[in-house]
């Protein structure tokens, strides 16, 4: 604390050297913590880009046949190297269908929590449960869909759609939470103004409240999609394995970038590993594009609302 040089006069000079040193040390430690986070991220990004970029070209991204991991590199050169087109198509269609299921339901759930539930015990319970559900491990979602969908349907149950169900279970609580937070920010005066004009609650919600919160809801949903696109565990037991493009989401086994990487990692063959790196770079690119899209929507929305 401030040292007094003579009675009645407060010394307002800088804090003592030791106190300042401690302060600098603490702030330095905080920056160090940030560096601890940046360094591994940098290593991963550089590693994936260096190892994956050499693999990526047009035919790698579009060729629909994933070669068996045992194919020796020499033979692969003769037959054409194959590509990850099938896995890209799989990831895109599975994630898209999961979004089609989870985003509308999640937004509607958030509408219930914020517009209809109010402070009722049921709404409070559901809000709490959706919080808790965001913490359910993704592999449990995979096992859940396996038990309720794949076991009753047998091997025909393994399809892109089953994977979409698992991802949708994962996305639902995330979409509910983010939409709920956005709906809470919509000022009540907007709702009251619309009621005063005689609009019903459904109309107020659909034409006034949801559009007002649209930017935040869309960006939250995009982040949920980005997270789902990278998930592996929910797809391991639900989509099966296939080495050629399966455009039909609803029947037949499918494949995805994440599960492809997971299976290629464990192969002892260099060409399989190279495939894994190329697929990893593609997957990171997809996830980053979704995240950047979410950021752009947020930025645009902020400018608009200002």
């Amino acid at each position: 604390m401030a040292v007094t040089t003579d009675p009645g006069v407060v010394d307002l000079r800088d804090p003592s050297g030791w106190r300042q040193a401690k302060n600098r040390l603490a702030v330095g430690a905080m920056w160090f913590a940030f560096i601890c986070l940046v360094v591994p991220l940098g290593f991963v990004l550089v590693g994936v880009i260096v190892k994956g970029a050499s693999k990526i070209d047009w035919s790698f991204l579009t060729s629909s046949t994933i070669p068996p991991p045992t194919l020796p590199p020499l033979l692969a050169k003769i037959e054409g190297t194959g590509g990850i087109g099938a896995a890209i198509v799989g990831t895109l269609e599975i994630t898209a269908f999961a979004s089609v299921i989870a985003i509308p339901l999640g937004i509607l759930g958030a509408v219930y929590l914020n517009e209809y539930g109010g402070n009722r015990p049921l709404a409070r319970l559901l809000s709490f449960l959706s919080d808790v559900m965001t913490g359910v491990p993704s592999i449990v979602m995979g096992l859940f869909i396996f038990t309720v969908w794949v076991i009753p349907h047998g091997l025909t149950g393994l399809s892109g759609m089953a994977g979409s169900f698992a991802l949708a279970c994962l996305m639902l609580p995330i979409v509910i939470r983010s939409s709920y937070e956005m709906l809470r920010l919509v000022p009540d005066s907007l709702r009251q103004g619309s009621y005063a004009l005689g609009a019903s609650k459904a109309r107020v919600t659909l034409t006034v409240v949801l559009p007002a919160a649209a930017g935040g809801i869309v960006s939250g949903a995009l982040l949920a999609v980005a997270r789902a696109a990278g998930e592996t565990a929910p797809l391991l037991f639900t989509i099966g394995v296939v080495t050629a493009t399966n455009g039909n989401l609803f029947s037949g086994p499918n494949t995805a970038l994440s599960t492809l990487i997971f299976s290629e990692v464990l192969q002892p063959y260099p060409n399989a590993v190279a495939f894994g790196w190329g697929a990893a770079l593609t997957l990171i690119a997809i996830a980053f594009i979704l995240m950047i899209a979410a950021r752009l929507v947020t930025a645009r929305f902020q400018r608009y609302s200002r």
């Binding site: 999640g106 759930g109 038990t147 609009a199 592996t232 790196w277 950021r295």
Partner: protein, 334 residues
């Protein structure tokens, strides 16, 4: 949707029942739709508990409690004890939060109390990048680059340095005199820590943001340095909430699958040596489910999922309760 849009006659203002709103069919069905969507969360959670317990019942009937809680895992001889995997999960996730807690703490204080707002945004972007890197990419990088590097250039040196120190030697020393492995409890914990730091940081920031501005400015007015202000004002206000945030990270770490499936060495062992291979619950489910087509084996793996579900639900419930109570308490008094 279409019905809700058209069914919307304005309430007749001057009618006898004018004070009581007339609710159209569309209005009510929209409410019902919203309610059903909300209830879906409850339904899925209940369904998970019921169907998965059913599918794993064979495990309980054939092994009994003592079989389940044994350390004996040998599918070839129909032995399905889960304890080694529970041990692996607990150790790995504890390592993860021990590392993630101080780092998240530092980053969230940095963002909320140190850097100006326009610098904070780029830092948040970087944290978001960490969050969006898929777990399988961490696994790939860890398996092919990080693990070999640790095994050759890092762990042997640490182990030989601490081998003769009593407690540290038991944790970080060699097993059986000369053995360390790159794929180990510690490696998996380390990578999990990086993966949970974004979520712990963002929750901690929410908690720290509730510290009243007046208190902070009061501390500065008394001549406190930034660090003294943090120790004296931010810390006491947000400690409980940050513990909750870390617990939530613990739940995440327990359920993360691919990293423990690839970076832990997949060997069911119980040991205090953290530089040696272990096995965690999500890892064994992911790695062995393909072989477990029928019978007790599959039931045991699904049962392991039930166990994991139960543990993470308990961890999450308590974490949420702590965070919510803390945030509400502080907002209430502010």
């Amino acid at each position: 949707m279409s019905t809700t849009m058209q069914a919307d006659p304005a309430t007749p203002a001057g009618s006898a029942a004018g004070l009581k709103p007339v609710r159209s069919l569309g209005d009510r069905s929209f409410q019902l739709l919203a309610l059903v969507s909300g209830l879906l969360v409850l339904a899925i959670l209940v369904l998970i508990a019921i169907t998965m317990s059913q599918q794993s019942s064979q495990w309980f009937t054939s092994e009994g409690w003592s079989g389940i809680f044994s350390t004996d895992w040998d599918p070839a001889h129909n032995k399905f004890g889960a304890m080694t995997f529970v041990y692996g999960t607990v150790i790995v996730s504890v390592i993860a939060i021990v590392i993630a807690y101080p780092v998240s703490m530092g980053v969230s204080l940095l963002l909320n109390e140190v850097v100006p707002r326009r610098w904070a945004q780029p830092i948040v972007y970087v944290i978001d990048l960490v969050a969006v890197v898929p777990s399988v990419v961490w696994g790939l990088w860890g398996f092919l680059i990080f693990v070999p590097w640790l095994q050759i250039t890092v762990y042997p040196h640490i182990a030989s340095a601490v081998n003769d120190i009593p407690i540290l030697g038991n944790l970080f020393g060699f097993l059986n005199g000369n053995y360390v492995s790159g794929a180990s409890f510690f490696t998996a914990g380390l990578v999990l820590a990086i993966m949970i730091i974004p979520i712990v940081t963002s929750l901690s920031r929410e908690v720290i943001a509730t510290v009243p501005r007046e208190d902070k400015e009061g501390a500065y007015a008394l001549g406190a340095t930034r660090w003294e202000m943090i120790r004296g004002v931010v810390w006491p206000h947000s400690q409980a909430g940050i513990v909750g945030a870390t617990l939530l990270g613990l739940g995440r770490a327990m359920g993360e699958t691919i990293v423990v499936a690839l970076l832990m060495g997949s060997s069911p062992t119980i040991t205090s040596h953290l530089f040696t291979p272990g096995y965690a619950m999500p890892g064994v489910i992911a790695n062995q489910f393909g072989e477990a087509t029928v019978g007790v084996f599959r039931a045991a793996l699904i049962g392991m999922g039930v166990l994991l579900f139960a543990i993470t639900i308990i961890v999450n419930l308590s974490a949420r309760a702590i965070v919510n109570r803390n945030v509400r308490r502080i907002r209430g008094t502010a």
